[in-house]
Structures are given as structure tokens and as C-alpha cells.
């Protein structure tokens, strides 16, 4: 028989994480959260989440880093902004979710071959190299690296898209591609300088 404590002790908190949350873009007003639950009520994905947005707000401002970064919620958020529009305290819930997702990717907290971080990485790689996204090529890249067997199931859709002229075989790109790399490098440099 495995016994598990279901209530957290104060000592399980990570105060550093709580500080980071309330200083991140979107998290500034998190201390104002009333725990009213409108965010969870409006969220079309909360019914699939282990911690609904309301619980996530509470856990993150108190510094329960493991629970927050390990939760399914940050991956389920589609950024539909329903929570943010409803929040009576004007907390930028969606923006905070972005910050949490970014942090989870940074710290590598996701299952192997999980499609969402793979898609994020391939997306940014394509933008950096070509300046634009060609959806069909992006999807192929993601499947190659996450769930290659699902490519088969997608082949019929691919053919239909091809037939209706919605899947260009030529990859889109901009002319002054160097500008994108320069632009992104400049962001990295300034961020380092200002320690953002």
C-alpha cells in the first residue's frame, strides 16, 4: 500500500518561483486574484485540465513550482483570452500562462516527443531562417519529430489540400532574410545587457 500526503506544507513552496511569477509580464496583478473562478468557468479547456485556471493562479502565486510547471493546464491553453476578458480584477491570465509555458520549455519539463514544444521550436526555426511560415512544411517537421506514425493518417488530408491548391510545395520566404536574424540577435543582446 502506497501512502501519499494530499495536503501541501508551507515548506513545499518555492518563494523564488512566487517572486518570479509576480514580476513576469502578465503576473503583476496576480496578488489581486479573488479566487472567484470566472476564469475556470469561461475556459473551454478547463474540463481537461488537472489544475483549472483558478487553481493555477493560486498555486503559482504561492510558489508551488512543481505542481504548476508539471501541470497539463499550461499545454492545454490555446490563448483564446476568455479568462482575461472575464477577470473582474483585470489579471492577464492568458499572458501569465504564456510565461509559464515559456518557463516549462526552458526547463525542459515535458514528456519526450511532446508535440507542443517541438512545434514551438520548429516554428521559431522556420521564422528565423525564412521569415515566414509555410504551414504544410511546419506540420511535416513536427510530425517527423513527434509522432511519425500519424503522418499516414494525415496523408489523405494532405492530398486534398494539394488538390485544392491550399498546400504550396514551394516554401515561402522573405527577401531580406538577414534582417530577421539581426533583429532577433539584437533582442538577445539587449536582454542580456538589461538582465531582463
Amino acid at each position: 500500500m502506497e501512502l501519499k500526503r494530499t495536503v501541501k506544507f508551507e515548506a513545499d513552496r518555492d518563494p523564488e518561483f512566487a517572486r518570479w511569477v509576480s514580476h513576469t509580464v502578465g503576473g503583476e496583478r496576480i496578488r489581486h486574484c479573488l479566487q472567484c473562478g470566472l476564469c475556470s468557468g469561461k475556459c473551454p479547456l478547463s474540463l481537461y485540465m488537472d489544475y483549472t485556471p483558478r487553481r493555477l493562479m493560486h498555486l503559482s502565486r504561492e510558489g508551488f513550482k512543481e505542481e504548476v510547471l508539471g501541470s497539463t493546464s499550461i499545454w492545454l491553453c490555446t490563448a483564446c483570452y476568455a479568462c482575461m476578458v472575464e477577470c473582474p480584477k483585470k489579471i492577464n491570465v492568458t499572458h501569465l500562462l504564456y510565461a509559464l509555458k515559456e518557463r516549462a520549455i526552458e526547463e525542459g519539463r515535458y514528456p519526450r516527443r511532446f508535440a507542443i514544444p517541438i512545434m514551438a521550436r520548429e516554428f521559431s526555426r522556420m521564422v528565423r531562417g525564412r521569415g515566414r511560415i509555410t504551414e504544410s512544411w511546419l506540420v511535416v517537421q513536427v510530425f517527423l519529430r513527434s509522432a511519425i506514425w500519424r503522418m499516414l493518417g494525415m496523408s489523405r488530408l494532405g492530398l486534398k489540400l494539394l488538390r485544392t491548391g491550399r498546400m504550396p510545395l514551394r516554401m515561402e520566404r522573405i527577401q531580406r532574410r538577414k534582417e530577421i536574424a539581426t533583429l532577433l540577435d539584437s533582442v538577445a543582446t539587449t536582454r542580456k545587457e538589461l538582465a531582463l
Binding site: Y81, A82, L161, G165, Q175, L183, V187, L196
Partner: protein, 291 residues
Amino acid sequence: MKYAYYPGCSLRGTGRAYEESLLAVFRALQIEVDEIDDWNCCGATTYMSVDELMSYALAARNLALAERNHTDLIAPCAACYLVLNKTQHYMREYPSIHLVVTRALDSIGLSYKDRINVRHPLDILLNDIGVATIASKVKVPLNGLKVAPYYGCQIVRPYSTFDDQRDPTSMDRLLEACGATMVRYPLKTRCCGGSQKGTLPEVGLDLIHYLLVEAQKNGAEVISTVCPLCQFNLESFQKEAGDRHHPTCVPVLYFSQLLALALGAAPEEIGLQRGFVPIEPVLSGREIAYA
């Protein structure tokens, strides 16, 4: 006034019919647009989860390029519309973001003075052209075609200034002016799941399915969308979602395709042949002849 036009990546791929039909509407109403020179990807929802600061810089390059010759920018794609708006808001609210983006633009010889209005085609059509003008130019009325207006998320939330965030009606008013009948559609701003269908398919399919069922239940013959991803999800995965639950058959068009049709455009000119769920039975059933 000439508008700057920012098509975005989707309108060059899966959303081709959106661009084709929108440009047809613009031609019919004599709206002049200039495509932004050498525009780049806005970063969409995806880049934000890799690096928010970089995504603001990417979006700002487009704003800076547009600002050289224009004041109003048209962004038809929901994700582009949101990201460009968000970048403007954040550059105003956070001095640190403003500094990082300004320096980044400077490194490629650009600057941005915050003089661009990011606008959605619905806003342009409703507020710059007007329902009365559009109604007067209708050549092929939609004959009471029953349409479910689906706005999705990112057009109205969180930054839209031209419509209500919970119960938007701009598309309803435009299509009614063309002779369509709007059916009740309480899920009009509920999320379609975005790219969830690709990454977490069982969740994505659920969200897609209930949007379709609700439209069909309320008697819609067509769903009208304003976002390339919504259109793609509702249409391409309709069969797959139906196999898991129970089958639906509702064609999903861009609002601009319906408008263009009413303004007298030919079907192949506005990408009607690019759909997967056949539209002909619905249109001929309502005696909507092509001009």
C-alpha cells in the same frame, strides 16, 4: 485612403480562399490596399511560447514597414490581428519592451513611432464603408441563406475596439445586408482549439465537434468564419470529429466569400472550389445563382 495590407502566412497556404475573396470584396467596393513590402511572420500564438520579447520584435518589423507610407493596416488573420495589437499595447505599457523592440528595429535601420492603427476587415467594412453602401452594391442577394456567424477568439478578445467581446455582431450586420439570415449561435466566440487538433487531437476534435453540432442544431446551412485556423479546423476535421461522435455536414466559408458572392464575384475567383464540404447543394437549394 489607401490601406496597408498584411496578409500573413496562412492566407498564402491553407487560407488562400480568404485572401482571394477578401481582395474581390475590396475590388467591388473600391477599397485600395498596398501589400506591406517584404512583410514577415507575426510570430502567431506559437512564437510567444518560445520567446515573447522576440515575438514583439518580429511583429514590430511589420508595423514599422507599414508606417513608412500608411496609417491604417488591415490584418485579416485573427492571430496576426491579435499579435500586432498586442505588440502595440505592450510597447506602450512596458518601457523595457519598448526599449528592446526599438533597439532591435534600429539594428535593421527601421523605427516605429506608434502611428499605425491595426484594423480588421470587418471593422473597415462596417465603419469605413458602411452597411448601407454594401447593401446598395449587392448583385446576387443571399436569399435568406441560413448562416451561423462564428467569430472565434482572437478577433474580439482581448483588444477589439470595434465590436463587443462577448456578443459581437459586426459580421451578422454585414451578411444580413447581403440578404443572409443569421441563426442563433451562442458559441460564436468559443475557441475552436487552434492548433490543438495537431498537438492534442482528442481535445481538438471535441472542441471542433460541438461547434459544428450547435450550428447544425440551430438550422445553419453554412458557418461563416473570420479566421483561417477556425475555417481549417471546422472543415478539414469535420469527418474525423463526426466519426468519433456523430456525423455533421456543414460547409464552412469565410465571411468574405459570402460577401463577394453577393457582390457578384465568380465562384472560382473567390476560392469556392477550394472547400472540402460541398457548397453547391446549399447555394442551388436557396437559388443563389452565380452572377
